[in-house]
């Protein structure tokens, strides 16, 4: 089967800065592929190379079997930029019609269902973009990207500005897309967002793809930090609990670094008298540490 998106040894430098270094990925139809990395890692550069906005120094890109350098390759593609810039003087309706006009052979069949799902009504569509909130503009950007039911969807930080309910609707839409055989490249610096919708994920750092793997493996590798305070004595052999990589005291609190299956630890905590528990979202650096030092930590455990 032809890959929906194929990058082969793509590199790009801006002056002395190596923005993308020998990147190769293949995204299959029906797949939601995560592209994860901190700001400045090269995610947006990759998307711009795919779209022909930036010229790669080396490598090849194809979209649904067509070289990405051909404008017709973008006929079946939808794109949401990270810095969404819409024409402020247009109304929402004019904006959607304008971008639909670039694909006369692909009518905007998904426009109304998406507008309904996002709760964007006619009164909003008749307002000029400049008077709309950031979140509403982001919704319009998503509709622009998806209204023509593209076969490949490129999303750069798509949840920016969306409230949690709309984010949920959006994630369901993305999963539905993939279920209908479409491919999605989901670029983000938020691990939890990628974890919720993606099947595979590429980890990007300083322009290099350091790993491509299933999200389940990513979860298994990622180090997470947990802070717990016990009202009484801590559970015995806390540091030896499976999934606990390290345990340290910080005043009255225990700082636990954990990875993998947390159930044994959770059972131990449930049996103990816990006064305070904080379990924040993992930082991206923790994800990267798993790849740069994971083997070393794994060997110790």
């Amino acid at each position: 089967m032809t890959a929906a998106l194929s990058l082969t040894h793509v590199s790009k430098s801006f002056g002395r800065v190596r923005a993308l270094d020998d990147a190769s990925i293949d995204i299959e139809p029906g797949e939601v592929f995560g592209y994860l990395g901190p700001n400045g890692a090269g995610k947006t550069t990759t998307l711009r190379i795919v779209l022909g906005l930036v010229h790669a120094d080396a490598g090849a890109v194809s979209i649904l079997g067509t070289p990405a350098s051909r404008s017709r390759a973008r006929e079946r593609l939808g794109f949401l930029p990270g810095d969404l810039a819409l024409y402020p003087e247009l109304t929402g309706r004019q904006l959607l019609d304008y971008f639909a006009g670039y694909r006369p052979r692909r009518p905007p069949s998904l426009r109304q269902p998406m507008l309904d799902a996002f709760g964007v009504g006619g009164d909003v569509l008749d307002q000029r973009i400049k008077f709309l909130s950031h979140g509403t503009r982001q919704k319009l950007g998503l509709v622009v990207a998806m209204q023509h039911d593209p076969d490949l969807l490129l999303l750069d930080e798509p949840s920016t500005g969306l409230d949690p309910l709309v984010q949920q609707t959006f994630r369901a839409t993305v999963l539905d897309f993939a279920a209908r055989g479409r491919a999605v490249l989901f670029s983000s610096h938020v691990l939890s967002e990628v974890e919720q919708v993606c099947g595979r994920v590429a980890i990007l750092r300083a322009g290099r793809i350091v790993a491509v793997e299933e999200v389940s493996e990513l979860r298994g590798r990622t180090l997470r930090r947990l802070r717990v305070r016990f009202a009484g004595a801590p559970p015995p052999a806390l540091a030896e609990t499976p999934a606990v990589v390290s345990a340290a005291r910080d005043g009255e609190d225990w700082l636990l670094t954990v990875r993998g299956d947390l159930n044994p630890l959770l059972r131990k905590l449930a049996a103990a008298d816990v006064a305070h528990l904080v379990f924040p979202e993992p930082e991206l650096e923790d994800v990267f540490l798993a790849y740069y030092r994971g083997r070393e930590v794994g060997a110790d455990a």
Partner: protein, 268 residues
């Protein structure tokens, strides 16, 4: 076709400004004709000439002789700074908006993510601008003809009228080309537009100073306005080949360079 879609957008976005400039140009030429019809221009020219010191009579005698005729005054209307500013404004605005303004706003990222090539994008903007400038030039011609007809003045003959309109269009198109060249590598519309405006102003001043002060006559060949000759055109009926070559050359060269820059450029 994607290019038609973009063309429609350009028309909607710029129509108010272009139509306003065209309308003002039409009205201005009409009013010039109205003013000319109320004057005995030959007698006025003779009186003005008589008041000049001998040295100025020698310097400006020929110019005054050609200017103080009906067609000379009408030609002056086509060389008035207001008219030149109108055409220049359209040229600079469209050149600046084509690329630099879209880069600055970030909109170019979303537009070029659509199935339109850079060549299609560039070509559509050029086509629209040249058509808009033709509309403005045509409006000026319409104003002159309407005024001549309304006030019983001798009408421009077709050949000189078309030559004049074409020369005006070619002049402003060359400024559009230069503005587009500046825009093609710029990230900010203001800077590109400001630089283009300064080019226009420099060209205008070079012609003004070179024409008034003999010591600076060497500046004249460097001014594009020196290639715009309403009075000569109305007398001869055709655009001098040197003017065609220079203005046409500037237009084609600037468009070619602008395309080369835009095509190679990483966006935004």
């Amino acid at each position: 076709m994607p290019s038609l879609n973009l063309l429609g957008r350009l028309a909607r976005r710029n129509r108010a400004f272009v139509l306003a400039c065209a309308g003002i140009f039409l009205l201005f030429e009409f009013l010039v004709a109205a003013a000319v019809s109320t004057l005995n221009v030959e007698a006025m020219g003779t009186q003005i000439f008589a008041t000049l010191p001998p040295m100025l009579q020698v310097m400006f005698g020929d110019q005054l002789a050609t200017m103080f005729t009906s067609s000379g005054m009408l030609a002056f209307g086509w060389n008035h700074p207001i008219v030149l500013a109108l055409g220049g404004a359209v040229a600079v605005l469209l050149g600046t908006r084509a690329i630099a303004a879209e880069v600055e706003s970030g909109a170019i990222e979303l537009v070029l993510a659509q199935p339109i090539s850079r060549a299609g994008y560039f070509g559509t903007h050029v086509l629209f601008a040249l058509a808009a400038l033709a509309l403005v030039a045509g409006a000026g011609l319409a104003g002159s003809l309407l005024g001549e007809s309304a006030y019983g003045l001798p009408l421009f003959h077709p050949a000189p009228a078309l030559a004049l309109t074409f020369n005006f269009w070619l002049l402003q198109s060359s400024f559009f080309g230069l503005a587009l060249l500046l825009s093609s590598g710029a990230r900010e519309a203001g800077r590109a537009g400001g630089a283009a405006f300064l080019l226009l102003l420099a060209s205008f001043l070079m012609q003004a100073i070179g024409g008034l002060i003999k010591k600076y006559a060497f500046l004249l060949p460097w001014s594009l306005y020196e290639r715009y000759l309403p009075r000569t055109l109305l007398a001869t009926g055709h655009v001098p080949s040197a003017s065609l070559a220079v203005l046409g050359g500037v237009l084609l060269a600037s468009l070619a360079l602008a395309w080369w820059r835009f095509r190679r450029r990483d966006l935004p």
